[in-house]
């Protein structure tokens, strides 16, 4: 416990009983405060796993039931855009980690630029996601009243299906692609919602960092936000293969 405690109290008035101003009244030491915050964050991420877990369960079941529909559905997604987005997110996780490191080592410029880079990469991800969603909209692959099974009963009419070599599907199975797209939109939509919340928090953090925040050793928020951002990244790391890749060559 001591190494941290000494590090944070050393630049106060030098004697042991002083504590930094950001030590909340109900904690004994700053170390207890940061450990508590990070424990809380990990626990929150556990609730997030359960939240997405419901969707993954649904995916698992329906994929087993409607295998051909899931294969044909995944052929409609663009590997190029998906891979590029994966690259953006992994890079943003790296820049976020750089941000946490900069805050730990009290590098003001490093922190600000890392946060800006993370922000841009995050927004870039959402931008590409919008392009993908728009394409689904145009091809009537959004579940609901306007959903069309044209691409699956008649693959030769559809560029992506044709390129993947899809064979015409019976109407019964073709209609099950709506379940695939329901899950696609529910899962990537929930993921995007988490990205949007993350970007909002990131903006607030950047605003504070620009004005010299997080340079006093009180970096629990940056660290915990980093955990959140990595978590959202990891969710995508599962979504990408499940939705885009796994049935690619069938």
């Amino acid at each position: 416990m001591d190494s941290h405690a000494v590090a944070t109290t050393a630049d106060a008035h030098g004697h042991e009983h002083d504590h930094p101003a950001y030590l909340r009244h109900h904690f004994v030491s700053y170390e207890q405060q940061t450990e508590t915050a990070s424990f809380g964050m990990w626990l929150f991420l556990l609730t997030e796993i359960m939240f997405f877990g419901g969707l993954f369960t649904a995916y698992l079941i329906y994929r087993n039931w409607y295998y051909p529909a899931f294969v044909a559905g995944s052929h409609q997604l663009s590997i190029t855009l998906g891979s590029f987005n994966t690259l953006l997110l992994i890079t943003s996780s790296f820049t976020m980690a750089m941000g946490v490191w900069s805050a730990e080592t009290k590098r003001h410029k490093g922190l600000v630029w890392s946060l800006i880079a993370t922000l841009i990469l995050g927004i870039g991800f959402l931008g590409i996601k919008t392009v993908e969603y728009k394409e689904k909209w145009e091809k009537h692959h959004i579940p609901g009243d306007t959903f069309s099974v044209q691409s699956f009963v008649n693959p030769s009419s559809d560029a992506e299906a044709k390129a993947a070599g899809d064979k015409p599907m019976g109407l019964d199975m073709a209609r099950k692609t709506e379940v695939y797209f329901s899950l696609y939109f529910a899962m990537t939509g929930m993921h995007a919602l988490h990205m949007i919340i993350g970007i909002a928090l990131l903006c607030g953090m950047l605003f504070k960092a620009v004005r010299g925040g997080y340079m006093d050793g009180n970096i629990a928020f940056v660290e915990n936000f980093g955990l959140y951002w990595h978590f959202v990244d990891i969710v995508w790391i599962f979504l990408f293969p499940l939705l885009y890749l796994i049935s690619r060559h069938q």
Binding site: V28, E48, F51, G54, R175, K176, V179
Partner: protein, 553 residues
């Protein structure tokens, strides 16, 4: 009748001038507070409000069922009334009842901390609760919901023409309040314990809340995503639960009960924590088998996650699944029985006194046992097929939830009332209220077991005339029960001004919360205590008192 109550000399005693209630003044000092004790009071007021709304709806239901015809209201309205009764009572009263009030108030004090780990998140959870409550009320006023509190698909997604979306989102929001409460408790118990407060010196109240918190944190998010999918299905028309598109309504049932079965343990475990404290204090003994009771809470939490499909025996799940889930359901009876037996052994050769909290605790033990044993009928697939969807199941969960949990809640409120307010409640009338509640409860719900056995289905406004006698009994009992609940409301408010000054430790109890002034200071402890005594160590308490006397003398 003997009593353990020892109050300070009433002619000289005063409620301490400086305490958490008087520390700051004004509405804003309450609405922006981070103090866990004030947030507990805010919660107490809010859940009491919703309890009486849910209670009024129950009254209307019982009134309709007085006669066999659907005469007080149309069948549609009846559907809405019992749905709103369920939604309000479960999500806005039972789930937050003990944890958000007593748990919030006591857990930091019991473990020797100045506050919960995250005071702001604690306050946020109250605001989320209020937002969820307001949305529920809005849905109710603008037309209500008629799906039953279970939001059964495809009724909720396709056929119901009522405010499913508003109510679903309300529960989504209130669910986050519950997640944040659970998260706060777990982190607090792990990281905020005072020096010397080891895990096995924690009061069983804390253990019970810890176990319930695990359920809140792991279960509630699943309900959240399920409700999101229902709302998406209703608004956009995605097909996850829609059989016409290839979705499966049974998946909804699995996801819903994956939360909602553990949720009954979220509701009952904190109540069990209250009972452990009360039984120990009023029989002057350490809780028998402390470790077993502590671990049985955790065992209930763990087993609770693997029994959900017993709600689905008649919904077309496979016979093998029924067999497995039936067996697992029986397993939950084991830790529950461990608790009941250990409480009984605690009473054995104890110096028992019959103050109000103890009366409610006895009520709990009897009614919860009946509720639990009838649960075995329902966990057995053969009898379940006959009894489910009848009044038997209504009686079963009301015995557990109202007879069990509400008794525990009232027991705890009376037990810690002197700590929360600094004043005693009036003993005689509250003992009367406890007895009235017990009698009213049995009158209301015991006939429903019989009705269920005879085959009266639940959720109908009308019923065959031969069931009327038992229904009249039930409605009459409900009015007695109503009196039993109104009484505490009146005399507890009265006691705020006129109750006897309680002093720090009116019950001679051993918990850390009784070693500080009543009502406590905002910071709980002037110096963080170092815990050397064991939990429920009444000899230690005696020594403390002797020490005090010699010191003063």
């Amino acid at each position: 009748m003997s009593t353990i109550v020892s109050l300070p000399d009433q002619s000289t005693a005063r409620v301490p001038k400086r305490n958490y209630l008087t520390n700051e003044n004004g509405l804003l000092s309450w609405l922006l507070t981070g103090d866990h004790k004030r947030i507990a009071i805010l919660y107490l007021i809010s859940i009491t409000f919703f309890f009486f709304i849910g209670g009024a709806l129950a009254g209307v239901i019982r009134l309709e069922l007085l006669t066999p015809q659907s005469d007080l209201m149309a069948a549609d309205t009846y559907n809405k009334v019992f749905t709103m009764h369920g939604v309000v009572m479960i999500f806005l009263f039972l789930v937050p009842s003990v944890p958000a009030t007593l748990g919030n108030f006591l857990i930091p004090i019991m473990i020797g901390a100045k506050d919960l780990a995250f005071p702001k998140i604690n306050l946020l959870s109250w605001y989320l609760y209020l937002a969820g409550g307001a949305m529920t009320l809005a849905a109710m006023i603008t037309g209500g919901v008629d799906t039953g509190w279970t939001f059964t698909t495809p009724m909720s997604t396709h056929f119901s023409n009522t405010n499913v979306i508003t109510t679903g989102l309300a529960i989504f929001v209130a669910g986050f309040s519950s997640i944040f409460t659970g998260l706060n408790f777990i982190v607090t118990v792990h990281r905020m314990r005072a020096p010397g407060m080891t895990w096995f010196k924690l009061p069983l109240f804390v253990w019970a809340h810890y176990a319930a918190s695990i359920l809140m944190v792991l279960g509630t998010p699943v309900l959240a995503i399920t409700l999101v999918l229902v709302v998406l299905e209703r608004t956009i028309g995605i097909g996850v639960f829609d059989p016409t598109k290839g979705g499966d309504p049974i998946l909804f049932q699995h996801l819903f009960w994956f939360y909602s079965h553990p949720a009954v343990y979220i509701m009952i475990l904190p109540g069990m924590g209250v009972i452990s404290e009360v039984i120990s204090t009023f029989s002057r003994k350490r809780v028998f088998g402390y470790t077993a009771v502590a671990f049985s809470s955790v065992a209930i939490a763990v087993f609770g996650f693997f029994v959900w499909a017993h709600h689905m025996f008649i919904m077309g799940v496979s016979n093998y699944a029924v067999l497995v889930f039936s067996l697992l359901t029986m397993l939950v009876a084991v830790p529950s029985a461990i608790k009941i037996f250990n409480w009984a052994f605690t009473l054995y050769k104890g110096s028992i006194t019959f103050e109000t909290p103890m009366l409610y605790a006895f009520g709990f033990m009897g009614l919860f046992t009946i509720g639990g044993l009838t649960g075995v009928f329902l966990g057995t697939s053969g009898t379940d097929i006959h009894l489910t969807e009848t009044y038997f199941i209504v009686a079963h969960f009301h015995f557990v939830m109202v007879g069990g949990m509400l008794m525990a809640f009232l027991s705890g409120i009376h037990f810690w009332w002197p700590k929360m307010t600094g004043r005693m409640y009036p003993e005689k009338i509250s003992q009367l209220a406890a007895v009235v509640t017990f009698i009213g409860f049995n009158f209301t719900f015991f006939p429903q077991f019989l009705l269920g056995m005879l085959g009266m289905p639940r959720r109908y406004a009308a019923y065959p005339a031969e069931f009327q006698v038992l229904n009249v009994f039930s409605t009459a009992g409900a009015s007695i029960l109503g009196v039993g609940y109104l009484l505490p409301m009146i005399y507890l408010v009265w006691s705020l001004k006129y109750g006897a000054i309680a002093g720090a430790n009116p019950w001679q109890a051993t918990g850390l919360e009784w070693q500080i002034q009543s009502p406590p200071l905002t910071e709980n402890f002037t110096t963080i205590p170092v815990v050397t005594q064991d939990v429920y160590d009444y000899e230690w308490l005696e020594r403390q008192k002797e020490h005090e006397v010699t010191h003063v003398g």
